[in-house]
Each structure stands twice: as structure tokens, then as C-alpha cells.
């Protein structure tokens, strides 16, 4: 327990040079009521809808400079020389930095420190940062960057598994010493995870039906709406304050401090307004560049990417090639699965090793199969770096295994849902990793729920009078069909996603809770470093504090590095982890209230004796029988209780490097979808009519936000199914870095998404909750493609499905 009244005064104002307004100062209290289980609106919802919310790109400081990044036009080249003379001579330019100017560590990375802060003699992907400029105007900075003369000598490309592992292939990271280096068959393979269980050869001999097929998943982008941006302010103590939109403040800090040559306590981060993340803010983007420029010039430096640069500024979802073989008995029992998943990690490791672990361990889906032979690996290549994105390795696998489940069902002449249900895992099922699933796994039930929902009406675009509303047709407002060529299809899919950080990672979160009575009313201050990226922690945290402390007024402190790490806002983990930390800390605060009450007033009422069943409700201490025996104002007086605690989920263990066996995951999360589509079979255009979802969330702390997450994930999965892909040329150059040509679903592409929420408690988790955010992104894609297959009869082994695939052109 800490009693640190000083911390709260320093935490609400910074060095005095902070931006006038940071978007994370979301005060909650009088306007937002609600304990857990109640739908609670976001405090920033209206501001975002009306355009008033301040994002990190809105940060401003009186005497700030603007940073700009010069990026490589080549995917693989040696840098022969860099001449910054002309750029530096431009009026308004304060500094230009290259690799030669870096003060300390030159590389960073989430799992492997292989990414240069600025290119070190060689560029490995199109868009790699080569030099940075600070100037007094963003245009000046951009033009100065254009005057930096870089002499490149292009090198041979590594673009796929064949070119990565061919004899004489260029080794992209020579001299690797990372922890995966010893276990890979080639240095251009970042990490490889086999999983073997049972006797596949024997099972194959018994199989009556075998389906072998290849699949491919294109490179999806997170396409968050708020491009990378932040403001670095040099501090008088020689340190730096960084205001930043990120997913994990502390891991940013831990990567930044060595690069800046500063101790961690001199690199202070405060979360700024985040315009979405979806994994794309897990890696550093402009953080180090802005801090380096700020420390070099002694001036605050802002960097804000535009949309074009954003496509080069963050990692993407791994594109994948997947080969699957399923064997089953004639009566529909899966006997074995063989699969091989090749993920393209691009130029730098980012989180590829963990993505490999997920892809491998979740590769056969939520099914009980005793015999498996699985291999997943990630390549180093000269393609754009890939890393975290919602679904994290499980998305690619789900597309393939669900297509396989449909294909096997078709071979067997079984209904695809019936076949899935016969093989569905349940509580007690043993995963390919040997891990027994020890909480509810209602896979068959979720499928039943989406299947039993009434189907939407046929021909929704036609009214009784025979006229047509093109908005309901494939092609929509483009007016390509009035019903001609349109065929309906229905498809199903279900997926499994892990929650929290796996494979033995020490995953924890920290919460500080301060309880005091102000103006006669108890107020709880909740301070965590959790990055609110849209997932809804901002409401859930206050709900938990209200529930545990029985107060109405909860203030959510801006997230910063003055409190311990909250871990990453990813892996569907924040409600579990930081929510769990707040619950855990509130319990400690509550116990401290009772201790003080007992100490001071124990003699007044027998209810204080023992520690059975006291509650905090409405600022009173109440016995289990409902009798008020103390008043918080009286107990605390002018004092505060201020406690910071860490919370850990149960430990996991690494997967065995050869067998893949191990208790690797904390928790699993399941979602099922039924997709109904209308396909214009002549033009190859798709209208998704409805995407019904059913998901087990353990406990819906904020039902409104839960449904929002499921609908959002569903839509992102739809995007991968029919439109979203970063296209990379044969020369490994990005072809469509814009929202003109990287298409994401509009509201007209977004169907009705009825959501069925199950709450089957996981006894290991706080409140029994289950992480929500990612699972719906998995099954949405294969459900939509299954529906398109049903409408067209085509095999469709690749997403996104393009009109060319549907029309044979």
C-alpha cells in the first residue's frame, strides 16, 4: 500500500510545458453512471462523432518544430551515400539526422531488436525510414527531406518462401543472435513452430475422406482513422516528455530509452487521443524520431503522418499461404489435420514470433482432433513488415480451416453446421498443444444460435410495386444490377482466439486507485497506463471502481508512465488485465477502508467484528445484512487511501520447440457467424446482406461496448473477405497506399449484424469475463466467403475475393 498524496498533484499537471489540451483527460463522473453489467456510453463518443475530440494529430506546442521522415523508394538496396547538405541549408530547417547521428542504441523491436531507427547502410523494404528533418513548418520539413540526396544500389529481392530459402538467397539479417535464431532452418525464417500430437499416419490410414487444399490470405491493413502522430517535448532535466497515440506506453518507453541514451525515468510518456489501433500501434512509428529531433534541437517536435505515409508507417497483417489436409470418417468424425502455414513477416520481426505461435496453436480451429501435424513459420522478406493486427495469426488459420470444414462436409454430404457441431470442442477438450480447455467452450451452441436465427428476406431490394432500391443490391449506388445475375448464398464459420499474452510471457497490469472524500462525496481516482484505443476501457474501468467501491464519482486519470505498466491494449486482454488490476486494487482499497473503520469505530458496532461480508455502498460501510455501520467520510476524514497494485493472469508456458506441447494460452474466446450474401454472379460484385454473430463473452461488463466490439470486428472481417488488401508489386513496392485504392467497408457495405451474447463464466477470470475484441474478426471472413461459395459454386481459396475471381477474368 502506498499513501502518496504528492503523486496526484504532479500527475494532473506536467512540467508546465505540456500541450494545452490532451484528449485523454476524459473526466467521468456525474454524467456516466453505471456499475458492471450496465450499458454505459463512452464519455468521448459524442466528441468523436461531432469532430471535437482532440487526437494526437491535434497536439500543438507554441514553439514546436515539425518532423518529417525521408523514406526509401526501394524494397532492398544498399545505401552508398547520403548528402544532407542542401536540406540542412534550407531556411527554416533546424536539423537533419541520419543513422550516423544516432546517439545510442541504433535498433529497436518488440521481440527482436532488428529494426534500425534510421536505415543503417541498407534498406530492406519500400518506405523504410532513412533520414529525419526538423523544420519550423511541415512543408519546409517535407521539401528539405526531398533535397536529401541518397545514392542507392539495388539488391536482389526476397519476396516469398522460395526466394527466401533458395540456395544463395540474400540473408536479410546476417549474424542473428535472437532467441529463435538457433531453431530455424534458414536465417530468413524468423520463427518456426511445429506441433505434433497423436499418430497422423495411422489416422490417415483409417480416413475414409481426405481433403487437401491450398489457401491464401492477402495483406490486410489496420486502416485506423487517426494516422501516426505525437509530440515530443524536451524537458529541463535532460529527459523528454512524449505525448503519443500508442497501444502500450511502457513498451514504447522501454524501446525508446536505449535509443535516446536516457534512463527510463527520463522518458515520460502520456497517452494522447488515439484514433484506432487494431495492432498497428504496437510497434514504434514516429516515437523515436520525434524524441531524437526534440533532444537534438531543444525544441518540441511534432510528427504527424498523412494517410499515404501511414501505410508505410506501421506493420500490417501477415499475408499467408496455407496448405491443409483434413481426414475424416464417413460418419463425420475428424481423424487428423495436417497443415503448413507460411506467414510473410516482411523486412523486420515485429511480433512475428508470437503470431507464429498463435497461428500454429490455433491452426485447426475450435475442434477436437486427436492427431495433428502442424507447422507455422514466418519469413523475413523485402515485403512491408507485418506484425500485430486484430486476430493475430488466428485470422489466417480460421479462413483456411473453416473452408476445409465446408469442403469435408460437402465430401461427406453433411450439413456444414452439423459437421462442425459433431467435431466441436467443448470444456475438457485437449488442444493440439496438449492444453486442456478448462472453461466453457460453447462452440456447438454458438453455431446453433446463428443457424436458428430466421433468415433475412429474399430480394430485399425489390418492393411490391416492382421498383428497385439499388442500395440493397450488389454494386449499391453504382447501379449495376436491378436483380440480374444476383444469387443468394449462406455460409457459416466459427473461430477460436486466445486472450492475453501467451507462451510464458510475464503478462501483468498495474492499477492505482485513490479513494477520498471531496466536498462530502466519495471520489475514486483510477490511474492506469492502459491505452484507450477505442476498446472501451474508459467506461469499464469506472464501472469496476463503482462496483467495487460503491461510489458514484470516478475520475479516470490520463494514462501515462507515472504508474506501472498496463501491458498492451491488444490480445483482447485489457478488460481482463487492467480491469482485473483495478478490481484487485479496489479490493485492497476496500479492505483498507474496513481496517481503518474497524480501528476507529470497531467499538461502536458489533458488525465491525471479524471480516465477514462487509460492503461499501453509496459511501457507507454496510454489513451483509444491510445494516449501515460506518460512513466513508467519517472513516477517511481528510485522508486518502491510495494504492497501486499489479495483477497477473495465471502463468502460461512456452510451446515445446519440436512438439509444440505446452500450457501456452491463458484463455480462449469463441465467436460464430452466419453470413447471408447476394452475389452478382455476372459482375462478381458482392452485397453482404446480414452477418449474424454469436459470441461467448463470459460476462458483459458493458453490454453496449461488447456489441460494438463484435460488430466492429465482424465488419473488419468482412473487409478482408471482399475488399481489403495492400497490393505489393513484383518489385515489393506498395501499389495502393491510399484510401482511394485500399478500400474499407462503407456503411453501405456493412450489413445488419444481429449479435447474440452468451455469458458463460470463466472461473479463472475477473467477473468470469472473456476477452471480446478479436474473436469476431476471425469467423466473419470465412463465413462471408462460404456464403459466396454457396452462391457461386466456386472454390475461392483466396481472400480478399475480387470480382476477377468470381468472373474468371
Amino acid at each position: 500500500m502506498t499513501m502518496d498524496t504528492d503523486r496526484i498533484t504532479t500527475s494532473t499537471s506536467t512540467s508546465g510545458r505540456a500541450p494545452a489540451r490532451t484528449a485523454t483527460e476524459l473526466r467521468q463522473g456525474a454524467t456516466a453512471k453505471g456499475t458492471i453489467g450496465e450499458s454505459t456510453p463512452r464519455p468521448d463518443g459524442t466528441l468523436k462523432a461531432t469532430g471535437e475530440f482532440a487526437y494526437s494529430s491535434d497536439l500543438w506546442h507554441e514553439d514546436m518544430l515539425w518532423g518529417f521522415t525521408l523514406r526509401s523508394p526501394h524494397a532492398h538496396a544498399e545505401i552508398r551515400s547520403i548528402d544532407i547538405g542542401e536540406a540542412l541549408a534550407m531556411p527554416g530547417v533546424h536539423t537533419v539526422m541520419t543513422y550516423a547521428d544516432l546517439p545510442a542504441e541504433t535498433h529497436y523491436g518488440l521481440e527482436i531488436r532488428d529494426q534500425p531507427v534510421l536505415a543503417a547502410g541498407r534498406v530492406r523494404y519500400h518506405g523504410e525510414a532513412v533520414a529525419i528533418v526538423a523544420a519550423d513548418h511541415p512543408e519546409t520539413a517535407r521539401r528539405a527531406a526531398a533535397r536529401i540526396k541518397v545514392e542507392y544500389a539495388e539488391l536482389p529481392l526476397v519476396t516469398d518462401e522460395a526466394t527466401a530459402t533458395a540456395p544463395g538467397a540474400p540473408v536479410l539479417h546476417p549474424g542473428r543472435a535472437d532467441r529463435h535464431a538457433g531453431g530455424v532452418p534458414h536465417p530468413n525464417i524468423v520463427h518456426r513452430q511445429p506441433i505434433r500430437r497423436g499418430d497422423v499416419a495411422a489416422a490417415e490410414a483409417r480416413a475414409e475422406v481426405v481433403v487437401r487444399r491450398d489457401y491464401e490470405v492477402g495483406m490486410q491493413d489496420q486502416a485506423f482513422l487517426g494516422p501516426e502522430s505525437g509530440l515530443a517535448v524536451p524537458a529541463e532535466d535532460g529527459g523528454v516528455d512524449l505525448y503519443i497515440a500508442t497501444q502500450w506506453l511502457h513498451v514504447d518507453r522501454d524501446q525508446l530509452a536505449p535509443v535516446l541514451g536516457l534512463p527510463a525515468d527520463k522518458v515520460r510518456l502520456t497517452l494522447s487521443g488515439v484514433g484506432g489501433a487494431f495492432g498497428a500501434r504496437e510497434d514504434l512509428s514516429m516515437q523515436a524520431h520525434a524524441c531524437l529531433l526534440a533532444l537534438r534541437t531543444g525544441r518540441p517536435v511534432k510528427i504527424a503522418y498523412n494517410r499515404y505515409e501511414s501505410f508505410f508507417g506501421h506493420v500490417h497483417r501477415h499475408p499467408a499461404k496455407l496448405a491443409y489436409e483434413h481426414g475424416a470418417t464417413r460418419d463425420g468424425k475428424l481423424l487428423y489435420v495436417r497443415c503448413r502455414i507460411v506467414l510473410d513477416g516482411g523486412a523486420y520481426a515485429s511480433s512475428s514470433p508470437a503470431v507464429v505461435g498463435n497461428a500454429a496453436s490455433l491452426s485447426i480451429g475450435p475442434y477436437a482432433v486427436d492427431n495433428v501435424d502442424i507447422e507455422a513459420l514466418a519469413l523475413y522478406s523485402n515485403n512491408p513488415p507485418c506484425g500485430a493486427m486484430r486476430g493475430f495469426g488466428a485470422v489466417q488459420a480460421c479462413f483456411a480451416y473453416e473452408a476445409q470444414m465446408d469442403a469435408v462436409a460437402a465430401e461427406l454430404g453433411l450439413d456444414p453446421v452439423e459437421f462442425r457441431q459433431r467435431n466441436a470442442m467443448s470444456q475438457g477438450t485437449v488442444m493440439p498443444t496438449g492444453q486442456r480447455v478448462d472453461s466453457p467452450a460453447p462452440v456447438a451452441e454458438l453455431l446453433r444460435r446463428v443457424k436458428e436465427r430466421p433468415l433475412p428476406p429474399e430480394r430485399p431490394w425489390a418492393d411490391a410495386g416492382g421498383s428497385v432500391d439499388v442500395r440493397g443490391l450488389p454494386g449499391g449506388l453504382s447501379n449495376t444490377s436491378h436483380g440480374e445475375g444476383v444469387v443468394r448464398g449462406v455460409g457459416y464459420a466459427v473461430g477460436i482466439k486466445n486472450v492475453g499474452f501467451s507462451e510464458g510471457f510475464d503478462d501483468y497490469s498495474t492499477a492505482r486507485v485513490r479513494l477520498e472524500v471531496l466536498g462530502g462525496e466519495p471520489v475514486a481516482l483510477v490511474h492506469t497506463a492502459m491505452a484507450e484505443v477505442g476498446q472501451g476501457g474508459v467506461t469499464v474501468h469506472a464501472q469496476i471502481a463503482r462496483t467495487e467501491l460503491g461510489v458514484t464519482q470516478v475520475v479516470i486519470h490520463p494514462a501515462d508512465t507515472r504508474v506501472g505498466s498496463a501491458g498492451s491494449t491488444s490480445a483482447s486482454r485489457q478488460t481482463y488485465m487492467t480491469g482485473g488490476a483495478i478490481k484487485h486494487t479496489c479490493e485492497a482499497v476496500r479492505e483498507e477502508v474496513f481496517r481503518r473503520g474497524r480501528e476507529r469505530f470497531g467499538h461502536r458496532h458489533p458488525g465491525w467484528a471479524g471480516d465477514a461480508g462487509l460492503l461499501l455502498e453509496g459511501g457507507k460501510v454496510v454489513t451483509g445484512a444491510g445494516e449501515v455501520i460506518g460512513d466513508l467520510a467519517e472513516i477517511l476524514g481528510g485522508d486518502a487511501i491510495d494504492i497501486e497494485r499489479e495483477f497477473r493472469h495465471r502463468p502460461t508456458e512456452p510451446f515445446h520447440p519440436e512438439t509444440g506441447q505446452g500450457f501456452g494460452h491463458v484463455q480462449y474466446s469463441f465467436c460464430a457467424h452466419r453470413a447471408v450474401v447476394d452475389v452478382d454472379t455476372e459482375l462478381g460484385l458482392v452485397k453482404v446482406v446480414e452477418l449474424a454473430a454469436a459470441q461467448d463473452v463470459g460476462k458483459a461488463l458493458n453490454p453496449l461496448a461488447v456489441v460494438g466490439q463484435i460488430q466492429g470486428g465482424t465488419t473488419q472481417g468482412l473487409g478482408l473477405a471482399v475488399m481489403e488488401e495492400i497490393q505489393v508489386s513484383g518489385g515489393a513496392l506498395v501499389r495502393n497506399p491510399s484510401f482511394t485504392d485500399y478500400l474499407i467497408p462503407t456503411i453501405l457495405d456493412t450489413p445488419s449484424i444481429p449479435v447474440d451474447v452468451l455469458e458463460l463464466a470463466d472461473d479463472h477470470a475477473p467477473y468470469g469475463l472473456r476477452g471480446v475484441g478479436e474473436a469476431p474478426t476471425l469467423s466473419s471472413t470465412p463465413a462471408v466467403v462460404a456464403a459466396i461459395r454457396a452462391a457461386t459454386g466456386l472454390r475461392l481459396g483466396r481472400v480478399p475475393v475480387r470480382p476477377e475471381h468470381l468472373t474468371g477474368t
Binding site: R142, V468, S478, N479, M723, L743, T746, D749
Partner: protein
């Protein structure tokens, strides 16, 4: 960069004469993107937004004289009867914000083969009224497009208005994009029936270096309709006529293979759109001359 903002048309012409490299700015939906990306840095920007007459239109007996800066949103609201094909095309342009700013004059000035207005103008029949301090001239829209993002304007000329033939029969516009709204054309097709002249005209977008008419297809169809007495008898167009027309429309394409679509798909999609839009418009004509094709309601 100097920002010129004439209040009157003659001032605009004088400014363009004085600064022939000045880039005219209407809605800015193309130009501002280029400027913001620093792909273009003209010495002068010539903002036409203050000139009232460019935002108005006049409806004559045969044509609508549409001011160069009339936004798409106004065309959709106010001219769906006179210019049904263009109104349908206008509905497919960008987002509501873009439709509030973008104009046909801007589309012509940019002369992108993917501009949504072009096929509708080609099918309806239109002339572009351009002017300079030297005088004004009318350029048939077919002759206006001279290459990828190039047009027939002289350095000192500005687009003042577009004279578009009023519809005397059904028209239709279709566009293929890979999502259901707010999408740039993979390819587009427009058709207009002109019962008085007993002709059908077409326009193809985004499937050749410039917007084009499918002239061989028009000639074939016009001959077939005349030969079969279709205009008088109200006979249905046979599948074989429609099929041949569609083939010839596809043959009029010279598409590229790019990030938005393959060459083969573009040709194929144009043929499908040609067949469908011919069906919609001809059926509408047979049913008694509803002006818009196909009874489609749009948002």
C-alpha cells in the same frame, strides 16, 4: 503560389491570359489532393468559386446549359428529369461532401478517364463551352478528351459551361467499383436513347486512355433497331442483338491492368453493363417513355 480569386468571368479570363499556367480551382476535389501531396505546385491557383454564373444553369428547349461549377448534389436534386444519365452518374460520385463540392466542369478539367460524368455526357450528347480573352468556342465532348488527364483546352482557356442535350428518352448509368458506395470507377458505362433521332449513344469510362463512345456498337444497334422497326413497333430487343451490342461495347475498350482491376475484367464488366443498361432503357422506352431507365430508386 499566388491565389487568384476573380469575382467576375471576364476577370477570370484576364487572369488566365496573364497566367497561362494558372490551375483553375472549382470544388477542389482533385486539385487539392494533388496540392496536399505536393505532386503539383502551380505558380497560380485560379479559384472560380466566387463567380456566380458558373454555379447556375439554364434550361433551353433542346439543351441544359450547365455552369461549370454546379455541384453534383444540385444536379441530383434539380436536374434528374432533364439530365437523368448525368444525375445517375452524379449519385455515384464520392461521398456527400464530395458531391457538394465537385462539379462537371472540374471533371472535364481534370479529364481523368475515371471521371464519373464523362460517360453520361458522351451518351447524352454534349458540348463544352470554353472561353478565353480571344473569344469562346463549343467543343463536342467527344473531342474534348485528348489523352490521359489531357483535354482540348488552350493555355488561356477556361471551361464556362456544358451544353447537354435534354433527355428525350430513357438513359442509364452503371459503374463498377469494388465496394458498394464511395468508390472510384473500375469501369463505367452510360447509355442514352434518343427516340427523336432514332439513335442510341453510349459512353465508356475508365476502360481506355480517355472516356470513349462505343461507336461500332452504336452503329450496329442503330442499324438493327431501324431494320427491325423497333422504334415504331415497340418490339423487344432480342438477346442476340443485345449480346452483339455488348460485345462491340467491350471491343471499344482499351483498358489497362492495374490495382483496381484487370484488363479482362474491365472488358467483361463493360459488356455486362452494356447489355443490362440497354435492357433497362429499352424496356422503359417500350413501357411508354419513362425517362430514367429501369425504375431504379437511388438514395
Amino acid at each position: 503560389m499566388e491565389f487568384l480569386r476573380p469575382a467576375r468571368w471576364d476577370e477570370a479570363l484576364a487572369a488566365k491570359a496573364a497566367h497561362p499556367t494558372a490551375v483553375p480551382l472549382a470544388g477542389g476535389t482533385d486539385v487539392m489532393v494533388e496540392l496536399n501531396f505536393d505532386r503539383r505546385r502551380p505558380d497560380h491557383l485560379l479559384d472560380l468559386g466566387r463567380i456566380p454564373e458558373l454555379h447556375t444553369w439554364e434550361t433551353g428547349p433542346e439543351t441544359v446549359r450547365l455552369g461549370a461549377c454546379v455541384p453534383y448534389a444540385r444536379i441530383i436534386e434539380r436536374l434528374p428529369g432533364e439530365l437523368p444519365g448525368l444525375a445517375l452518374a452524379a449519385r455515384t460520385v464520392g461521398s456527400p461532401q464530395i458531391r457538394n463540392r465537385g462539379s462537371v466542369g472540374g471533371n472535364l478539367g481534370a479529364a481523368s478517364p475515371a471521371g464519373d460524368a464523362h460517360p453520361a455526357l458522351l451518351a447524352a450528347g454534349a458540348e463544352v463551352e470554353v472561353a478565353s480573352v480571344r473569344g469562346s468556342r463549343l467543343i463536342p465532348v467527344e473531342e474534348f478528351y485528348t489523352g490521359v488527364k489531357r483535354n482540348a483546352l488552350a493555355d488561356d482557356e477556361l471551361i464556362r459551361a456544358i451544353h447537354i442535350r435534354k433527355a428525350t428518352g430513357p438513359q442509364a448509368f452503371s459503374k463498377v467499383g469494388t465496394r458498394n458506395a464511395m468508390v472510384i470507377a473500375v469501369c463505367a458505362f452510360a447509355i442514352a436513347l434518343h427516340p427523336r433521332t432514332r439513335t442510341v449513344r453510349t459512353g465508356i469510362g475508365s476502360a481506355a486512355p480517355t472516356p470513349v463512345r462505343a461507336r461500332a456498337a452504336e452503329d450496329f444497334l442503330n442499324a438493327a433497331l431501324a431494320e427491325g422497326g423497333h422504334w415504331d413497333g415497340g418490339r423487344a430487343v432480342t438477346p442476340s442483338i443485345a449480346g452483339r451490342f455488348a460485345e462491340l461495347c467491350a471491343a471499344a475498350c482499351d483498358p489497362i491492368d492495374d490495382v483496381r482491376g484487370s484488363t479482362a475484367y474491365r472488358r467483361h464488366a463493360v459488356s455486362v453493363m452494356a447489355r443490362r443498361t440497354l435492357g433497362w432503357t429499352w424496356e422503359a422506352f417500350r413501357e411508354g417513355g419513362a425517362i430514367t431507365g429501369g425504375g431504379a430508386q437511388c438514395a
